[in-house]
Symmetry: C2
Subunit: 317 residues, 2 copies
């Protein structure tokens, strides 16, 4: 059996091999991804984000265990700024692996955020596709941070959970405001702590100020470590997915995802050509000139652009 | 007087006008940035990052007040995921403004992380350049989050502080590991709290594991809200800047910054051409085909690339 057939049968080793290929040799990997594409689109992709310390991993793990009892197959992609693309599992990952890895229907992969943004987004989309083709019913994409690149990546999800917790000071205000608009469900985790009611009031206030949205996000209280609220959270996810499917929003989100994917791939195809054209020596020379104040970056970039046009573009000279 | 002369005289309104131009009409702005470039390079750029809630803004503000007493002129760029490029000040910003804005030698700008990564990096570099040309001695770049794009942006700094705090659970481990390598000084803030000693031991352990680095990062304890440790932190920044200047590292960092700036600008020049070439209609059609499983994103991107080559590149057909 070839690699794509093995992935489609849910073969974990085949999937792992293909993911490594995505990271190290994308040109080759995309030939297999092409074959898999037609078998995709069945999985529901759930993005989970929120500030550090809010308990995103715990929520992901609890949800996973909850829906495994219903027989659903699960994929987890952890966007993890601390690990390079090809790097090994980090501490948290290893603990998680021990906990969930005995279950063969749960497939977990970490993906680092070093390297290029396009690369991260491209790799995440490829891994989601592979898990989808493997027959996973639910794919969680979990971010460690809430930076811009993580937000960009998580936007490919069908539905997005924002995990927050009480008592994080002013910074949480800032973060909530920034990622507010992408959230479908607010998960108020660690809700046995002081400040929960105040946090919920604040969220409700922000939601009411944000009146232009079609649908207000839901708010669900959980205590991940105690497994409290997980069943209600899952029911809310299911309820919302049905709504989003019926009103066409999931279709629209998938459209946007594909659009972004095509554009990212197209840009990626050009980057190499550019780098070859500029060449390391020339770039070093230009940097030296700018450092010595004999040029500036804007002029240099304009000259490079002009030069590229003359050399490569039809009618450029 | 023209705009660039006014900026060089430290005129706040002129600088604000130019920054707005950077955000809204970069093509025009870069003609003025070109003029300013030759007057830049004197300011020391200090990056300040760390997880939400660790007190980065407080540290930035305290350091600012501390060095204002020495007569140093200060610029602050806050990388803020919650505000769009053109948006108004957010809550924290307004509080800060009230506090520091009476001082005319402190110039503060927030910059949002919505929009393109290249754009964010480009805008930050431009704002730093403007503040540098204004005659600021020290420019702080402060991030709200610790996502990949924030890290990319803060890499343009001459020296980087990582602000951490005790008692943030496991997530902090992950974050520290991820941004560890870019930090020159660990600022253990809120060091009057329980867990400070343990956190410092953990940092020391990580530093010792990371033995391939030329120089170990320093660790400085602070309590930002009480203004404790700020003088020691500043002395350590000054000490390190001298070391980094003498061993050529700051020169190397500025080289890398310029290299990245040139390449980003070059890529940016091409994006528009690509978008025009693809066209909204064609992209929509391709998305539709992929959604209906009549094509896949990889094939589509390859076809677009081929087509672009045939139409635009010499020898492409």
């Amino acid at each position: 059996m070839n690699l794509s057939d093995r992935v489609r049968k849910g073969d974990i080793r085949a999937a792992a091999k293909l993911i490594t290929m995505v990271e190290n040799d994308f040109q080759h990997a995309q030939e297999i991804l092409k074959e898999l594409h037609q078998y995709c689109g069945k999985a529901i992709v759930v993005g989970i984000t929120g500030p550090p310390g809010s308990g995103k991993s715990t929520i992901t793990d609890r949800l996973t265990k909850h829906i495994r009892k219903m027989g659903k197959k699960v994929g987890i992609v952890a966007i993890d700024p601390s690990s390079p693309f090809t790097g090994g599992a980090i501490l948290g990952d290893r603990i998680r692996m021990q906990d969930l890895s005995t279950d063969k229907e749960v497939f977990i992969r970490s993906i680092g955020t070093r390297g290029h943004l396009g690369g991260l987004s491209r790799s995440t989309q490829a891994i989601v596709k592979i898990m989808d083709a493997m027959g996973k019913d639910i794919i969680f994409i979990e971010t460690v941070g809430v930076g811009q690149s993580e937000i960009e990546v998580i936007k490919v999800s069908d539905i997005i959970l924002l995990v927050v917790m009480p008592g994080m000071g002013d910074d949480i205000q800032v973060i909530k405001a920034g990622i507010m608009e992408i959230g479908d469900i607010f998960v108020v985790n660690k809700s046995d702590r002081d400040g929960t009611d105040r946090l919920i009031s604040e969220i409700e206030m922000m939601i009411s100020l944000n009146g232009h949205k079609k649908r207000n996000p839901s708010i669900i209280k959980t205590v991940g470590t105690e497994n409290l609220g997980i069943d209600r959270l899952w029911k809310e996810i299911e309820r919302l997915v049905v709504i989003l499917q019926e009103n066409g929003e999931i279709y629209q989100r998938r459209r946007n995802r594909i659009k972004k994917e095509i554009y990212d791939l197209f840009l990626e195809n050009w980057q190499e050509l550019f780098l070859q054209f500029i060449g390391e020596d020339r770039l070093e020379n230009e940097v030296e000139r700018v450092l010595k104040q004999n040029s500036d970056p804007y002029f240099t970039a304009q000259e490079l652009t002009k030069d590229f046009k003359v050399k490569f573009l039809k009618g450029g000279n």
